[in-house]
Symmetry: C2
Subunit: 108 residues, 2 copies
Amino acid sequence: MSASAEIAQTPEPPYYAVIFTSTLTADTDGYDAMATRMVELAREQPGFLGMESARGSDGLGITVSYWQDVESIRAWKAVGEHRAAQATGKSRWYEHFAVRISKVERAY
Amino acid sequence: MSASAEIAQTPEPPYYAVIFTSTLTADTDGYDAMATRMVELAREQPGFLGMESARGSDGLGITVSYWQDVESIRAWKAVGEHRAAQATGKSRWYEHFAVRISKVERAY
């Protein structure tokens, strides 16, 4: 996914981070448009605090989104348009992926 | 920092993630060698579970390292060669950076 080249301005911990790591298949048709749309949509969700995203030349991508609490993560996961993107991602765009839900305890 | 283009194979949660986000200055002399060395050195530390790293074409870099507990993160932060790299990073290589220590509660 893509976002601007900026470090997210997050509040004092505690808050939550969703660490999404992926490698892509060769079939990336529609992927960029979906990623751009998901960033837009995430920003509109209650409890959204920020997002950072990078994909290196070796193909590994990391997107970290920051959320106020687990409830807001759960709600975002259930948004219809996001669910559709997740399903297409799994069946088509992502070769491998991992999602890790973590509680940020300290930041500096 | 650089690592292989692989998603880290981590154990069942809970464990810890250090999310390091950065943008670089124009002065990147010595940066790649340091980054490669730090990955090597991290892998030797007690409690190290894995690492994922990506820097996008827009310059934003994200490195996530995974650790067994906060004690192993603290010990890694204090390793002499790592401290020297952190100091040079702050004074020279990093334009901006953020470090977030988080506890991974769920993964799938």
